[in-house]
């Protein structure tokens, strides 16, 4: 629980001792087997869990860590969670004797100061032993829980100044001892949670890892422990080699970027800065966050050390051949400097809940902006910039609390990359998270989803454009409380290589009444029956200048009512004849050429 512990957890780990050698095909087959087991564990959890964020949003993650605490394999979930899961296990491995690890055990960890991300991310993990009783692997299953037993439902307390306000922290808690569930411990975890469904979800997580442990034991039995260790060593080394090959192709130099968050969670401090310098020397990439904000009195914008490493890595892997296998080899190949005391490596006991959104995503975004100078063709930021979307909380007729977490279908932050317009509803790295659907949500909560369409003219313009943002409107059918934290209004998602920034986020409560108001910072309001709330998601950013966009592509956007005729002229310099209504729209080539020349000249003059 200190910077010293962080340094210890982050230290490079040795390869596993083994007397076996392994051929590449066998190493690949063993890796495929492990990935499949992760996939099955996560699938199992997704189907058996009942909290919406797990079973509708798929916010769950399977990974396998080796006996040295290295990430050995992963298959599903999001990169942001995948790259932090080995960290909590490493703390457990530190205390392996104190905590009496053995076959059949299952542990729970979520402590931000002991390798974790934020409190809601429960990592349930179980050691895998071979028949000789030696520890070979650890199966992890990580999932976001609906509550953490802190001051506010959901675990997000805007004004929290310490972790204890946010809820219960478990550094390494044994839930199952040698195959027997510890009822007292299990019940204590369940008791410290507002939602009774936690019991089922936790049981589902335990069931998932136990299922995987059985399969991993079979895998170890089939190949032999030594061969499995040799395969993990091979795969980790192979990944490091591939990453260094890619970096070796990049030009040497230092590439820097600044990205800002509008304000902290209480609005006292503004323009919170993340600074990144990416340095390439031969095949060594160094990502240095020196210069990132370290004001000690900032509230709510502290991202844990383990999380910061993970969010850096999420963008680094995006910048490379997607075929490179994801494991510890990435961490072995990339040097990270994350100064102690900054918002990316906070002192102990800082709150962690909202830091996992911001500055976590700004760290990712800054790495993207810096690397866009080197790999423009892969520079799409892998972020979610929404602060905290509107969570609506109420109590049913039996006195049970319900919460709509607001992970609804929508589009946001889907930036363009060279040659491809932004598309779909989120950046690719979040493509495993299935968003909530009206027909499921309304069967559970007294809410009507009024609309959630894309917003015209909200795309980040560019030669390749971002996907527009969307407006999600809801009406509460019973009195309820709504919570929100708004960012990305003043500092929207950054455009790449001369592309426009994305459109900003905004949020309005009690829409259509005299009390209608915009949420500037945060909200925790009681909504009377019938109230309407409207959350505007920001769009994706553009790539290169909109004046370079193919006028015919602009025409398609206008026909699809993504871009208005007015915006086509003002942003893209494209002039049309005909109308959208009659489907006889044509590009006026001459007028477009002239307008674009004027605009280009104006821009050049403005730049001077």
């Amino acid at each position: 629980m200190s910077f010293e512990l962080n340094r210890k957890l982050a230290a490079r780990r040795e390869p596993l001792p083994t007397s076996a050698t392994v051929d590449p095909v066998t190493a690949t087959i063993i890796r495929g087997g492990m990935e499949t087991i992760c996939f099955e564990a996560a699938t199992h959890l997704g189907r058996a869990a009942s909290s919406a964020i797990i079973n509708q949003s798929n916010e769950r993650n399977g990974s396998i860590v080796d006996a040295h605490g290295r990430l050995a394999g992963a298959a599903i979930g999001t990169p942001h969670l995948t790259f932090v899961s080995q960290f909590t296990v490493r703390y457990g491995l530190e205390r392996i004797h104190d905590y009496d690890w053995g076959p059949g055990d299952v542990f729970l960890a979520n402590d931000p100061d002991h390798g974790g991300g934020h409190l809601p991310d429960y990592n349930v993990y179980a050691p895998v032993y071979d028949d000789a009783g030696e520890l070979i692997l650890v199966q992890c299953l990580q999932a976001h829980q609906g509550d953490t037993g802190g001051k506010d439902p959901g675990g997000f307390t805007l004004e929290a100044t310490d972790i204890f306000t946010e809820g219960m922290a478990f550094p390494c808690l044994k839930l199952v001892h040698r195959g027997q569930r510890r009822r007292d411990v299990f019940d204590m975890v369940v008791r410290n949670n507002r939602f009774p469904s936690i019991a089922g979800d936790l049981a589902a997580m335990i069931g998932g890892v136990q299922h995987s442990v059985g399969m991993l034991q079979d895998l170890v039995r089939k190949w032999g422990a030594d061969t499995v260790r040799a395969a993990i060593n091979y795969n980790v080394e192979q990944t490091e080699r591939r990453v260094r090959e890619e970096v070796g192709k990049w030009p040497d130099g230092t590439y820097e970027a600044d990205v800002f968050i509008d304000h902290d969670t209480v609005g006292k401090a503004r323009d919170i800065r993340v600074h990144v310098a990416c340095t390439i020397e031969g095949d060594q990439l160094t990502v240095d966050l020196t210069g990132t904000d370290d004001r000690p009195d900032l509230v709510g914008v502290w991202n844990t050390f383990g999380n910061s490493r993970s969010y850096i890595m999420t963008q680094v892997v995006a910048a490379m051949d997607p075929g490179i296998v994801k494991n510890e080899g990435f961490f072995n190949a990339v040097n990270m400097i994350i100064p102690e005391g900054t918002i990316a490596n906070p002192p102990p006991n800082k709150p962690a809940a909202l830091g996992s959104f911001h500055p976590a995503c700004e760290i990712t975004e800054a790495v993207c902006v810096a690397l866009s100078a080197i790999v423009p063709e892969r520079s799409a930021p892998q972020v979610y910039k929404m602060g905290m979307p509107n969570a609506v909380i109420g109590v049913d007729e039996l006195g049970r609390m319900w919460m709509d977490q607001g992970v609804d279908s929508r589009t946001c932050d889907t930036s363009a990359v060279e040659g491809i317009d932004g598309w779909g509803s989120c950046p690719v790295s979040l493509g495993n998270l299935l968003l909530s659907q009206v027909e499921d949500a309304e069967s559970r909560f007294p809410i009507i989803n009024v609309s959630r369409e894309m917003t015209v003219d909200s795309e980040g313009a560019g030669r390749w454009r971002g996907q527009p943002g969307s407006l999600n409107v809801k009406q509460v059918l019973e009195p309820a409380t709504a919570m929100a934290w708004m960012v990305t209004s003043k500092h929207p998602l950054r455009g790449m290589c001369g592309g426009n920034d994305a459109s900003p986020y905004s949020n309005r409560f009690k829409v259509g009444t005299p009390e209608e108001h915009r949420i500037e910072l945060s909200a925790n309001e009681v909504l009377p029956q019938g109230s309407v709330i409207a959350y505007q998601y920001g769009g994706g950013a553009g790539f290169e200048s909109p004046l370079q966009r193919d006028p015919l592509a602009v025409k398609e956007d206008v026909l699809d009512e993504i871009v208005s005729v007015k915006r086509a002229r003002e942003k893209y310099g494209v002039v049309f004849t005909g109308t959208v209504e009659e489907f006889d729209l044509e590009v006026d080539v001459e007028a477009t050429g002239a307008l674009r020349r004027d605009m280009g000249a104006g821009k050049a003059a403005g730049a001077n």
Partner: protein, 690 residues
């Protein structure tokens, strides 16, 4: 003796399997894309001739004509379906584009979007709203529906999907929209979500409905003309159509939701594979089917290939109906080869059968994989092709590959070889994706290769995966057709009913099952089956409150459709017990203090029909087979004089050592270096690694 005929209509060839008693006769001819029923009729005439019967006599003696079709799949691969529009609830225009956030590869920031079947300009909304309990929150704005119709008409829309929120609970608004569309846009095809997939959630249902709308006009018109033609030819029974679920059903039934034939040809192949594999003692099979247009991969585990409903991403579009799991790649003999940005690419576009590969000499000008095989000597212009229906020609082939070679800076031969390498890599990667998801070591599996082009490539994929054994059934070129004869007629449908299990109303359950049973009875009776031949599985979908996915289990399996006496006041309690038992089996835990809810009722009905008998396939004493001729061929390591065998010369017990080529009537089997081939006592081929 009476006949059963299985027909599989692919993009390039139409395959026939004729079952008489336990004997199977095979035939195939070219598909006729402008009207596929023409190829079917000419094939049936050929079969009649082979049996020494007139067409009328032959057809009169057919107990069943069963067929699978890739019409829907090819439509999605080539993206040439109907111009489709979508009408949905106001506020929900973009669900098709959101895809619930799903993207296929979370690591590739250069992943491209799937093409929109309904781009935004053809996704229109109408004011209306039904709530989860079926009540009307906002009435339907009929004038808005008419305005939508006018906008869609202006865009020449041919097929309209209608998907409104909660229509699976209360379909009134959808029905009214459909009526207005029919009035305003006479002649357009209409697909309603409450008919295509009556369950939540909205993206799954809407996507399935949109894909249905996209493929429906082509599937329907094809089935109609086929039915007319077989009737004219003297067939007196119902035409049976293979479904994605692995069961077959009548055309009348299929036309209610043509999406059910998606992947039905491949499903037939999988059902046939399981049948053949199990007979030979191989319960775990990796099935690969390479025809003219596509490469289909599937698995049989423990002798079965169950249909799965739900999150089926098919050609990048979600299709929620029950499907045997088959992965399709655009890689077939007709896949077009080209050079782009210094890279050789193959497919997904296919030359099909019209004009077909250049070497067919039917006007094709773009080089295909079949042309590459000719360049490599794996096929020969000197041998008969497709059962002797025509010979291949080299004319124009070399020039076409030279054009690719010019862009790449090497010879025509090198270009053909690279195309061959690329298509092999595409197929190997596809196969790896399929096996990775299943927790099975490919080395414990047997590969079963079929389709006209499968056996020419299979050993390469087997080698890439570490598979030691490849089975090539004698019937391999028409295997999917054979599979349709194995599949039983089947109807599998559900209805939504959301209720806590302790408050279930036996009367409502009875009514829903009775409705499904009546539908099944109607269709089975029309198909010529007696109600007492039908066996029924009465199933419930249940979950704990808050769970997203339901478990399906049978509460009653019975012969006949009439006995609903098991639905009494105790059914809720029995359902809870059965659900908890199932949950424990699947997930290892139950929720002690939670009461599960019912989400729907399901009825799966089927009728057992006769199947072909597959020989067991023990190894006869071996003898080296006699070489028919030799020719220069490149099997991966350069041109060399290669032994060529005639399939007709090979008898059980014959062994062939690679490298060698076997020319079968409808396919070419390549025995690669370090592989050998053995003919088993059933006449089927088994390739093993030396």
């Amino acid at each position: 003796m009476n006949y059963r005929v299985g027909i599989d209509i692919g993009g390039t060839f139409t395959d026939f399997a004729l079952l008489k008693g336990s004997e199977v006769v095979l035939y195939k001819n070219l598909s006729t894309p402008e009207d596929r029923s023409i190829g079917v009729i000419s094939g049936l005439e050929k079969l009649a001739g082979m049996e020494g019967l007139s067409m009328q006599d032959f057809m009169a003696r057919c107990d069943a004509i069963v067929h699978g079709t890739t019409v829907a799949d090819n439509t999605l691969i080539e993206m040439n379906g109907a111009l489709t529009g979508l009408i949905t609830t106001e506020g929900f225009r973009d669900e098709m584009e959101y895809r619930r956030g799903f993207k296929e590869n979370i690591w590739d920031v250069r992943l491209k979007p799937p093409r929109q079947i309904t781009p935004r300009r053809r996704r229109l909304t109408v004011p209306e709203r039904i709530l989860h309990d079926g009540s009307v929150h906002k009435p339907l704005d009929e004038e808005a529906v008419r305005r939508c119709c006018r906008r869609l008409k202006k865009q020449n829309v041919e097929s309209v999907a209608i998907s409104l929120l909660f229509s699976f609970v209360n379909p009134d608004h959808e029905k009214r929209v459909a009526a207005i569309v029919a009035e305003e846009m006479p002649g357009v095809h209409i697909s309603c979500s409450h008919q295509v997939l009556p369950r939540s959630p909205e993206y799954d249902r809407t996507s399935t409905t949109v894909v249905n709308a996209y493929v429906a006009p082509r599937v329907t018109s094809y089935l109609e003309s086929l039915v007319t033609r077989v009737r004219e030819a003297g067939y007196r029974k119902q035409l049976m159509v293979m479904q994605a679920s692995g069961g077959v059903m009548t055309r009348e039934y299929i036309e209610g939701s043509p999406i059910r034939v998606l992947a039905s040809g491949p499903a037939g192949g999988v059902i046939g594979s399981a049948h053949a594999g199990v007979a030979k003692g191989y319960n775990n099979l990796l099935c690969v089917d390479m025809g003219g247009t596509s490469y289909d991969i599937s698995m049989v585990l423990g002798g079965a290939a169950p249909a799965v409903a739900g999150w089926n991403m098919h050609h990048r579009y979600l299709v929620g109906v029950p499907m045997v799991q088959v992965e399709t790649l655009g890689a077939g003999g007709g896949s077009i080869c080209h050079a782009e940005n210094g890279e050789v690419e193959v497919g997904p576009a296919s030359a099909g059968s019209e004009p077909g590969p250049i070497c067919y000499g039917r006007g094709g000008t773009r080089p295909t994989i079949t042309d590459a095989l000719l360049m490599l000597g794996i096929l020969s212009a000197d041998s008969q092709f497709a059962g002797g229906s025509f010979s291949l020609t080299r004319e124009g082939v070399e020039e076409a590959f030279q054009a690719i070679g010019d862009r790449m800076g090497y010879s025509a031969q090198d270009a053909a070889f690279d195309c061959w390498r690329v298509v092999n890599a595409n197929m190997s990667q596809g196969v790896q994706r399929i096996t990775a998801g299943k927790g099975v070591d490919a080395r414990d599996m047997c590969m079963l290769a079929y389709g006209g082009n499968g056996p020419a490539f299979a050993a390469i994929q087997a080698e890439d995966l570490g598979i030691e054994r490849v089975l090539v059934p004698k019937a391999s070129p028409t295997f999917s057709a054979l599979g349709t004869l194995v599949a039983d007629p089947c109807i599998d449908e559900e209805r939504s009913y959301l209720v806590p299990a302790d408050r279930v109303d036996a009367g409502t359950l009875k009514a829903l099952w009775r409705e499904l049973a009546e539908r099944a009875r109607g269709y089975f009776t029309a198909a010529g089956f007696a109600a007492d031949e039908v066996s029924a599985r009465y199933q419930l979908n249940m979950r704990y409150p808050g769970q997203n996915w339901a478990l399906t289990f049978s509460v009653r399996v019975s012969p006949g459709l009439d006995d609903l006496s098991f639905v009494d006041d105790g059914i809720g309690q029995r359902a809870i017990e059965a659900f908890n038992k199932q949950h424990m089996e699947e997930y290892g835990h139950i929720r002690e203090h939670e009461l599960p809810e019912i989400t729907g009722v399901r009825l799966s009905t089927s009728v057992a029909t006769p199947s072909p008998v597959v020989a067991h396939g023990y190894s006869a004493p071996t003898a080296l087979a006699r070489v028919a001729k030799t020719r220069q061929a490149n099997l991966g390591d350069g041109f060399r004089e290669t032994d060529v065998f005639r399939g007709g010369d090979l008898v059980p017990g014959h062994e062939v050592l690679g490298p060698a080529i076997i020319e079968e009537t409808f396919t070419t089997i390549v025995v690669y270096p370090n592989w050998k081939l053995l003919v088993d006592d059933a006449g089927d081929y088994e390739l093993t690694r030396c």
